[in-house]
Symmetry: C2
Subunit: 343 residues, 2 copies
DNA sequence: ATTAGCACTCTCGCCGGTAGAGTGCTAATT
DNA sequence: AATTAGCACTCTACCGGCGAGAGTGCTAAT
């Protein structure tokens, strides 16, 4: 494995490269970090690190650059996760008290806060449960047979759908139907809905169909609802100065592909996951520009009750320590707030 | 004013520049458009056009480029608005039948369709009325004193807010309160809410406060709800190849500034409005990159009942005829659909 | 194991030269 | 009076060469 000195050199190269985005040379490292070794020695060590795949060479005679492998080693063993400064913690907490809105607004806010905190792009999904339950439904006549179905699910999720009934119905009749359905359906999940032992009128049947459809979508947990903020930060980094790379990343953003590409669901239940560069084949295949990016993902909420994900997307050349602790902190804050709000 | 030939030359320069994004010279124009005139003559005319401010010169010896003024003249007098090809019309109509969702989803879809159709960025706001009316409200107990207020407004708009009551209340009590409030408030606007001649319990008072807050926001017509799609198209144009300009535009996108900067509200009631380059001082001041952009805005819906705006943002070097007719067509389609859905 | 020394490589910025596109002006033509 | 041919001029874009600088890899000495 790596000697003490090699580790230190690797660490220095990474922290230097992260800061300046330029390949770093042996002399510079020796000077700046007061290693008791001449440039030649450091070169020697660097060559060794390169053999092990931790560093690489843009071309014959320029300084070293970390590889994905190098970053991985850094994250795994070299880096000590910093405590998020108290001030930063306060800033984040403070911003959450600004808005009292639905969960969508909440997730949106979180994405925005996170993007600002880590100066990279951030993705946050609103909290979702695995199998949601009906809490309440309501029918409101809009116009002729056009009717608004309002569905309140547990954890305060709210869905609406406009349905067109077979015949026009007056509001009192709709209200009566809604009341009957509420008695029968309240507390049920989608699965329990299916085997409907309940006798139904055609009107009620139609409403139930719509309810099933909505709950199917919700259970499926469409990631299209995720919020993305702050791509601007990523694109302003020097590695994306060439315009084709910019366009590559924008493709992801525009078509919501980015969000689909990030395998939020397939994560270890807790803790923070780090995906560096081309490590995840799905991401790398999705887009060329992604190969120069890392993704840090954390989960919040309680699995099985209500949970969501927060993620940061940035260049591989990223301040991992800072980013990881911010993601972890934000996930914790969101879990707390979620707890406060519902049982 | 301009002679016949000058007009033609101006038209040619614009159409050529729009297509190729390179300054266009006298010889080229003469060759391609079979003008019965030598390059020298055309140069002469171009010099005249430049004096009048319709064309300009990147530097001493390169072809001409249209100015904002030139585009304006083109849009005003030279251009004949093309009928949108039947095929394009069908494509647009077709896509609208895909989704039956809330108005948010609808506006989002429209933005996406429009962006694709004109290959530029598109902004669409969901339909809003000037003064909305309460149709129905509902209270759902979530946890202790934490309660979800669901508010159905006219035209099927739906708002939710989580409120924390002074004391915990059971669901039956909440339902009863909701029913009482429905009887009293149904059909009222925000203004009519204020002078509440109605006697209220503390619980009801609290709910009414929340309702007022929500309706205030809705009436205000927060443009944050607008949907933006397709910036990618704009940024891939050659005029945005330099990365600082890219960042400039992204600033707008990211912070929703773009949407705020576009003065959707301050428009002539009907028809399509065209803002070219720096013509609108607010836009030009908002962002440097905007000076190279034009905005085409159309309204849909019936003013006073429910209306919204659709807009396209693209480089000043844009296919105005095509864009304008697409915006107009889309606005008409959306008006129709809105009519169908509600009275 | 470390290091000094040295040759080597590659980038980057700079200079100058050239080809090409296009203009503006003037004087001749219609 | 409008048009045009002719010509000098200007500016850009591109290419090759050159030197400085940074950094490496290797070898031989410590």
């Amino acid at each position: 494995m790596l000697t003490e000195r090699q580790s230190r050199i690797l660490e220095f190269v990474i922290s230097e490269y992260v800061e300046n985005a330029t390949p770093v040379g042996s002399q510079f490292i020796g000077d700046k970090y007061r290693l008791r070794a001449s440039p030649a020695t450091i070169r020697h060590e660097m060559a060794e690190l390169e053999e092990h795949g931790y560093l690489s060479h843009p071309h014959t005679s320029s300084g070293r650059v970390p590889t994905d492998h190098g970053y991985r080693f850094f994250v795994e063993t070299l880096m000590r996760e910093e405590q998020l400064p108290w001030e930063a913690q306060q800033t984040i907490r403070h911003q959450f008290h600004q808005v009292e809105g639905g969960e969508e607004a909440w997730a949106h806010l979180a994405a925005s806060v996170l993007a600002r905190a880590v100066e990279n792009a951030a993705v946050v999904t609103p909290p979702r449960t695995d199998a949601c339950r009906i809490k309440h439904l309501e029918l409101v006549s809009l116009h002729d047979a056009t009717t608004l179905l309002v569905l309140v699910l547990d954890q305060g999720r709210l869905k609406q759908q406009i349905i067109t009934l077979d015949d026009a119905r007056a509001q009192p009749e709709l209200s009566a139907a809604a009341e009957r359905l509420n008695k029968q359906l309240s507390g049920r999940t989608l699965a329990e809905l299916g085997r409907s032992d309940l006798e139904t009128s055609p009107l009620e049947r139609q409403v139930i169909d719509a309810v099933e459809e909505i709950m199917g979508e919700v259970d499926e947990g469409t990631l299209d609802e995720a919020y993305l903020e702050g791509i601007r930060h990523v694109l302003s980094q020097p590695e994306f100065s060439s315009s084709d790379r910019v366009l590559g990343l924008l493709d992801l953003v525009d078509e919501r592909n980015l969000i689909r590409a990030i395998p939020l669901r397939a994560l270890a239940g807790d803790g923070v996951t780090v995906i560096i560069g081309a490590e995840n084949p799905r991401l790398a295949a999705a887009n060329d520009a992604m190969r120069a990016c890392s993704v840090i993902i954390g989960r919040y909420g309680a699995p099985g009750v209500a949970s969501g994900a927060v993620a940061v997307l940035g260049p591989t050349r990223m301040r991992y320590s800072r980013t990881i602790s911010t993601v972890r902190y934000l996930a914790n804050v969101m879990s707390e707030l979620l707890d406060e709000r519902y049982e």
